[in-house]
Subunit: 395 residues, 2 copies
């Protein structure tokens, strides 16, 4: 028996447990202080009414023999794939239903898609980065190279012709930085991928936060993408499904490598190692893409956007550099006074009672930066923003 | 870019599509004939009342800010893991909660667990076999050897000391054959695994159908299993969750290979590539393990068992050899008159209007055998059993 030794190369992930420990220690020493958490990227508003209604109606269907559903298609029910196809069509992206795969989360699909690629490939990830892109490849033993996202490039690295990469991760709007590629910038990545035979893995989990017309919601809005890109999107942030679990992955029919169609490979992977999203959840997901569902989930997005704007305004007043917040629920700020990420974490906790996420936890290039999120409660976010501004002003 | 070339070695899976084509051709030619389907292993009874009530109550919780749940623990909520721990304790198996992982399906976990093992391992699967065990390993490029399940060994192959295997699949009660290992037989596999440093992957998906006391429900009822076995079980058949999706996987804390703890590896795999089962589904699953839930889901199991007994009685009357049906919803019958699997498929469709599954579709050793299931409607199963007996009698 040979175990997968690559697991020995995984860095232990202490980021959120370290945060929890420091916060617990602080609240233990200062039980009177009210702590406001703007650290973790999880939604806080409840599911929209049309979604809950759909869950309850589908649950009732499952309780009657005439309407009960057993195994469904692994790649998702036609009613949901049709709704997603229509959703893409609304922004001018034409897809076939068999290019759309319903799944239980972008994280699952982003990890599992790697089954389709040989270990002997070079992976390009930005730094700082959502740790899943790195860890899933370390587990398989692939070579990883980093594209530095820095203040100089607006935390939006561009392709480097001297770097040879086979699998390229792009998350736009970005987690953790909130930065979002414009059309021409993203096109440069598409052109690089096509020229090099690479595959772009495009994470669109935060697309619903985009407000500016020049920022693509889908990579498939660009030219030449159906021969080089796979897109992952999720209802987690779009409709508050972090605890309900539904996502979708687009694998174009025209995408081929080494004589194999990736769409057919992914279908085979999913039918072999997966059994689909619960029927009731697919009904709930379809409710998101009705007029009423769009309106109700859009209100939640607006609520989080307003929170991000409140934080951004406080940083503007404090004269602190940041990116994100405009097309994203995340704000990525430079730590004031040249503080390192963890120093600013402690400073903000002690002086303002506000919890955020140290940028260095997402990669070496994140040192000196800090992530705040708009996913909190509106009233608490206003208080936190004021405390943040005051703490920085007192420096 | 190097694609995973192993996908080229996958045999196309035509079994159920071929069945569908032949049935469609027959019904097209004979629209007046009533066809009864006893082919596919999917449940037909609705979710039990306590389960539907739990789904609806949890859906309502998700619609209120005070009770909304976002991201849950990837390995499952404590309330469900505690219920599962208690369920195991009821049959004398002592587990820690962190040895229990909630997932969306035994098929997913059985496929994904392979991430933990090197490609350079030899896999032992029975023949005939649930195709997932084979295909998931072909995808990764592992060596596969087969243990012949035959009428001579009651379709329960025993370990062969001359065969060196690292990863061993056991499904008991078995899909497709319905055969179930007794305690001493299963212990021989456990001893083999411990002696050879192999890992047993034990698929207990059909355990709820066991009626005989000498057939273990869990591999962990046996001695020495916590150093060599991983168990997969599902609510798909236990509680009709094929369209609702919830399963559980037991990875003992004491199971180590190559200096790594498989429990810690699986936790890392799941936290990196998975986001857990929907909260509402976990609440529904917990409802299965209440007194009311056990009673209601037990009634469905009894219903399917009675169907299997009706089919078995017809085969007894017809003097046809079969196994299964006693501790399993599946009946695995020898095709009468020395017919091959597909010949009997056509015979049964034409003469009796009954659809089953050709045994050869599950492996070469399945040739000459045929699978029928107890998952159908009770009245229709009675009619089908009578037609089956009459058709064989007329041979």
């Amino acid at each position: 028996m040979k175990i997968n030794e690559n697991y020995k190369n995984l860095a232990e992930s202490y980021l959120f447990s370290t945060i929890a420990k420091r916060v617990n220690a602080f609240t233990g020493a200062h039980p009177e202080r009210e702590i406001i958490r703007l650290g973790i990227g999880d939604v806080t508003l409840p599911l929209a009414r049309p979604v809950v209604d759909a869950l309850r109606a589908a649950s009732a269907e499952m309780g009657e023999k005439a309407t009960f559903r057993g195994y469904g298609p692994e790649q998702g029910y036609d009613f949901l794939r049709a709704a997603l196809r229509e959703e893409y069509a609304r922004r001018g992206v034409s897809l076939e239903e068999n290019e759309i795969f319903v799944g239980d989360g972008a994280k699952s699909d982003i990890g599992n898609i790697l089954d389709l690629f040989d270990v002997d490939n070079t992976v390009l990830v930005p730094d700082p980065v959502y740790p899943v892109y790195v860890d899933t490849n370390v587990m398989a033993g692939r070579r990883i190279v980093y594209a530095a996202a820095t203040r100089e490039n607006g935390f939006l690295p561009m392709p480097d012709a001297s770097v040879r990469a086979d699998i390229i991760y792009i998350c736009s709007p970005n987690n953790p930085t909130g930065a979002a590629y414009r059309r021409t910038e993203l096109q440069a990545w598409v052109d690089y991928a096509n020229q090099n035979g690479a595959v772009l893995l495009f994470d669109a989990a935060y697309e619903r936060f985009i407000t500016e017309p020049d920022v693509p919601h889908s990579i498939f809005e660009l030219e030449g993408t159906k021969t080089c890109a796979i897109e992952f999107c999720s209802l987690s942030k779009t409709a508050g499904f972090t605890g309900t679990r539904c996502s979708y992955t687009i694998v174009p029919a025209a995408l081929e490598r080494g004589g194999l169609r990736l769409n057919a490979m992914w279908l085979r992977r999913q039918t072999t190692k997966y059994n689909g999203v619960p029927y009731i959840v697919q009904r709930a997901a379809a409710a998101v893409f009705t007029d009423e569902g769009r309106r109700a989930t859009g209100e939640a997005i607006d609520y989080y956007r307003a929170n991000a704007a409140v934080i951004a305004a406080a940083l503007d007043e404090a004269g602190v550099w940041y990116c994100g917040g405009r097309n994203s629920p995340y704000i990525w700020m430079a730590c004031p006074g040249g503080m390192k990420s963890w120093d600013f974490f402690d400073f903000l906790l002690e002086r303002a009672g506000v919890v955020g996420t140290p940028g260095v936890g997402f990669g070496a290039e994140g040192e000196g930066y800090f992530r705040l999120t708009g996913f909190g409660d509106a009233e608490k976010t206003k208080i936190a923003a004021q405390r943040l501004r005051d703490a920085i002003a007192a420096l």
